[in-house]
Symmetry: C2
Subunit: 190 residues, 2 copies
Amino acid sequence: MKELKERILREGKNLGGGILKVDGFINHQVDPQLMDDCGREFARRFRGLGATKVLTAEISGIGPALMTALHLKLPVVYARKHKPITMPDQVFLTLSPSHTKGRTVELIISPEYLAGGERVLVIDDFLASGATILGLVRLANTAGAKIVGIGALIEKSFEGGRAALAHLGIPVESLACVKSMEGDRIEFCD
Amino acid sequence: MKELKERILREGKNLGGGILKVDGFINHQVDPQLMDDCGREFARRFRGLGATKVLTAEISGIGPALMTALHLKLPVVYARKHKPITMPDQVFLTLSPSHTKGRTVELIISPEYLAGGERVLVIDDFLASGATILGLVRLANTAGAKIVGIGALIEKSFEGGRAALAHLGIPVESLACVKSMEGDRIEFCD
């Protein structure tokens, strides 16, 4: 998506070590119009899949997932990383390694909001190693739901996430694919 | 706001101890159309304040704040509770007691995204004791920014947040005000 790529080139920063700083428009300060445009684009790409729910992981997946769900007229569920007191004792929980945090995080969903037979579209901000998204896939499988598509705002193709998701045999879409981040450059896949 | 109140009555649950469970449409599963409607309503109420930025706290403030910012055509910043590696070493940080978590949480904003002279509209999901919102006010003051309005989806008037914010002398708006939660009842202020 041209608009997102231009924004990454203009305002994104390559911090080294594969870390792309986009916290001026995606994951600390957020440009709501850009998120809305990205949500509309995901909705266009995934409209034919018959999804019944959008699923993401807190925190920075919430913006793009919410906007995608708005345009698809679907509810969105964000997996929690800490169990709140409003959640029942029996939950779906999986562990997911977080590169950027350097530790394992929990991903928790209440069985109230993910049911057997649901068709789930996963939307997140980044597709890097695919670890978080694979965690969401495990949660959906445990619930008896089926993941039908995966979308990420930004794919870092050099971290191998797309290959890690290939066995699922479902559409994987990213709106900006970063091929390499050598020195202070940011190079897109196409 | 009639739509939100009806939804609370229909799907909200009084868990006792002042805890209102609304995780089926606000803070775990989210109804994006409802969030959009709430954002539009906040935008209508606060449009005259000349805000330059919307501010909230992760996690469940993100939805309503993002939608409000969309309708006001403003950027939104969410205060982080853990400092990510993309954030500079020098940050605005304050501590805020969290009732529902039973501990103190950090609220952190990068100085890159909150500047002196900004006019800040705070939007959050709940106004209970006001502690989180007062934390955001302290961060804004430290940055030299001015809070010009405060909006919450749901106010629990029996927790005294409105009184705690009164000294600010700015508009405080909630879209649903809960007066009491005796037994399993939920009673609105008006």
